[in-house]
Assembly symmetry: D2
Homo-oligomer: 341 residues x 4
């Protein structure tokens, strides 16, 4: 039985707390938040959990084996580092830290102490993304040509980060899981329409070593909500519409066939347009899948799917995207600093 | 009565010919195509029109007042220049020419001879775009924050141009009409997935002097057809879905309201979410509206809405986008060469 | 402060309990269920509520002012009658009772004791139905020609009632609210495809004194979920799609205009096709609106919108529909038994 | 080469004429219409066809082998009978005749003279209906539980027939093709909202010997266009949305599984919810498929899929539905008059 403490009981923390409470093999041992009102809500809901107004006291609680950190991004590093020092396993809300340097330090800290460090890239645990991953790994798409995502809606404007750190981070974590390679360059442009606030819309182009390209369209100031991703392959193509109540993932047997004859280039292209297939998806909640995975990783010392390394990779791309955005799309190389091993 | 000749009776020419035949004030006088089969089809359909296998002979026909040019892009300049020299008014298929230099020469030729030079930016004449223009000019959107368009489908791959010259050109002509300003810089990235062919997908970011930004997503290798544009303003926002059988244009009374108090930035942002309104659109075909406008411009010596200048502006942006695309999104300034006047 | 007890903590009871807990002016005083497991869940969630494994003991609790009954239909009458005899105000889950005779007795019991009797026709309290009601009462639709509803999905099969008593009851309660008149006849047909079970699909045609007609299509065995209602009027028409995340209600300025000239019947019909308008709907949860209304009715002695009378009217129509269904659509007159007053 | 004459060049006739012109093995020999304007349009389009202002003169033309009749319903019988007497093969627009008696006479006339009599039930030749037929005949759906169709839109109001004869006729012909059995009873209700006109909306319930039921919802006065059919089977279910540009037919691996244990009825029902599959459909136009079939039937003396018998079956059901509609849903038995053979 793993005793888990939740740090931060604001917008996302209650979801994490619930997922701990509903997962076998772990127990919701404590909840920390500096807000008395938040703690009161938490206590009413989970009378069995110890409440801490001071994060430190939860981290110092020796009965706690692991912590979930759902606090503002700027505080991720400090709290996670303290928890690791106290010998706790850690799940950090996305993004793992406010800088890649901080992310690297957390990875090293966890490795040195043989602790599990996981980042809460929730989308990776959805049945939609897992099914897409299966399809790609089975080779059904052939070569992955592109990933093209539209993730727009009206608000919520974040105070501390811009729309890239808030929304594009989802796609970056999904790409890290699906493609199993890291982008080598990024071009980003964006705009902020509200005086005194960071960018509320942005477009990113990501370039991968294999030739795959990814395009991300994120926007907090759109009149309608769209969550649609096209994934094109040499054999088949996918449309993933996350707002569909069912049939979120559709696989199209469509594409282009190139003939062999070198002379008549124009005539060599023909279109395939075959059946469409929408696989049945599990209705299991992503957070529960994720929490079971965490329990399994802690128990058996396994590397999480959304490890500190994947968290680092996402932050490295975010940093490069910010540089590019400041220069209207100037492409920026992503050169990960190698870690001493 | 304006006698009009159609040059090129391949994919688009028959539509132009039909629109001439159905418009008052003009007459389909002749059709030219080097293909005997195309001419045979044309003759069967329009027994009253003179058929020319040689473009030259149609241009030399003194009974012809104006020509419509629907030939491959590479031939636009030569044919249009010859027609202007022969004293004909001209409509050229989009884009107006393969280079901005050629476009400038056509504009000068037409101006010198007091001839009407129009480019067939058909979308500008759709009831959807005209209604959006009305709404913007009436100030209903407030400041235009952004124009974000997705224009993707499976094929047709063009032989002579890439997807930017084929699909993005539509949005560039629409933007020229709606915004009444020219972009000052562009960042573009793209990819070609078919060996030996040009780019089949691309993303463009356009920057305007007023602060408006435009994003274009064009793709010939998508599993589904999408024609959706979001237009965000400080007061209202528009969703234009051109594939909807009705309600193509929806106006949302949604946005963000910024308070005055300087101290509490976070608290100052509030959301508005009001009614949605879908104006009734005329069902008149865009090509007929366009042809009537051409007749009117020729008859009264008026400047067309889609003048040579707008054709030039589009080509200048296309050229800059190509430069940027070759450099993975490197932003390129658009500095129009001023014409001697 | 009204002390409220909830009887039945199975599928729907927890929603009612929550709505009591979240509404000002009332208090969740007690919960009754014969299942120990259900009671345990309830107690964990609402430590302040008294738990009763025997319904009788909750009804006998003199500190309880009102009860919400969410038990199987067959038990509604007995429990509600006992509660009224004990001087409690009552909300009964839909349908109010298993027979119109029972419904009439409850109405008389409540009237005699000056107690509030309300039936939980939840849909009447949704912002969509309330907005449609406003639009109709304002005369914007003109004469209401028809109400045509499709309410189909896969499962849940009910054990004790057929699909009419489970799904059509929603539309009947909505119609009672919107039309403010009672149907005079019904024709129904249906089919049961699962051996040994009641009908899982049915179609009802309802005839109203004013000439309005209503059609209901209900089905537990459909591959997809549909919740769409068309409402046609002489001036405007409505499409209500309850599965839309936003724009659930769309008002179309469309219809037919009939000229005056008597001679040329064919020529007299012309179509109007104008704007569409989707009013902003409140996001307030229907159950909270309903519970506030109940508190208001109890406090001020007002007649609920979804009174016992509306519950009776719905059951009378259900009974007539069952008779018709057994005879393959044979129309059945609905002749309400007049109550002694 | 079969010489074909088209009688009636109004709304539908031009489509038939075009399909003749584009089909191998037949020739558009003549066109008859009493309107000089219609004939002028026809002549311009088809200079090779003989024009007849008098139907009689086309029927008497001995060079004509077959006629297509696209005139008002009331005239179908007289013209078809005359054509058969003159030894012509015949395609009649749907419905085959204004009464079942007339339909029977045409069938007898054609049989006596060994002529092909076909009714233009166009939908039967669409790739969607043909694919659904394949799926049903392959047994993939299992037992067909129901067919539930919504076919509504705004206008066109017909002058001579009501909405059942105009729209429900499509579903009746599709059902005749898909189910290969005839309904034994029908219950219909409807309403006419325009003074002096026939019913503009109706609902039909059809009962088949096998236990299959069919429900048809037809309406000329709906704010939006809907063409959606649900087909439920014991193994799988279909959603056919004819307005979808692609994926018109979706097959859902969903349903209910009934266990064997007799004692626990409630527990025995479980839901299956598996993959969805949208078969690729041919893009060939239905009218061309139909015309090729006609040429094949005439050439080889085969019975058409949409034979006079299927035309008769549809009209018998329409007649019974009209009787039921006049009595508010009173079920009417359909007892086909046996023909002397």
């Amino acid at each position: 039985m793993i005793n888990i403490g939740v740090i931060g009981y604001g917008y996302w923390g209650p979801n994490l707390a619930r997922s701990v409470a509903e997962t076998d093999g772990c127990r919701l041992a404590g909840i920390a938040d500096f807000s008395a009102a938040a703690l009161a809500r938490a206590g009413k809901r989970y009378p069995g959990a110890t409440l801490h107004q001071d994060v430190r006291s939860l981290i110092d609680d020796t009965s706690v084996d692991a912590v979930l950190i759902a606090t503002p991004v700027a505080t991720h590093y400090e709290i996670a580092a303290a928890a690791l020092r106290a010998g706790k396993h850690v799940i950090v809300e996305k993004p793992i830290a406010a800088s890649s340097d901080d992310a690297r330090r957390l990875i090293e800290d966890a490795a040195r102490r043989n602790l599990t460090l996981m980042v809460d890239h929730t989308f990776v645990y959805t049945s939609a993304v897992q099914k897409i991953g299966e399809i790609i790994r089975a080779g059904d798409l052939g070569d992955v040509y592109y990933y093209d995502s539209t993730r727009v809606n009206l608000g919520l404007f974040q105070h501390d980060v811009n729309v890239i750190w808030d929304l594009a981070v989802h796609d970056l974590s999904i790409l890290d899981y699906l493609l199993q390679e890291k982008p080598i360059a990024v071009s980003a442009s964006g705009a902020g329409h509200i005086r005194g606030r960071q960018e509320n819309m942005a477009h990113l182009s990501l370039f991968y070593p294999s030739g795959t390209v990814a395009y991300l369209n994120v926007n907090w100031l759109a009149p309608v909500k769209v969550r649609q991703t096209l994934i094109g392959g040499s054999k088949k193509m996918i449309v993933w519409n996350d707002l569909e109540p069912s049939e979120k993932v559709k696989v199209y047997d469509r594409g282009v066939t190139l003939g062999d004859a070198p002379e008549a280039v124009a005539a060599r292209i023909s279109y395939r347009s075959g059946d469409m297939w929408a696989p049945q998806l599990s209705v299991k909640e992503a957070l529960l899948t994720e929490m079971e995975h965490f329990v399994d990783c802690v128990t058996h010392g396994r590397e999480p799917i959304t490890s500190g390394q994947s968290g680092l990779s996402v932050v490295e791309t975010l940093e490069a995207a910010m540089l590019s955005l400041r220069q209207r799309g100037q492409p920026i190389d992503i050169c990960p600093v190698r870690m001493a091993s």
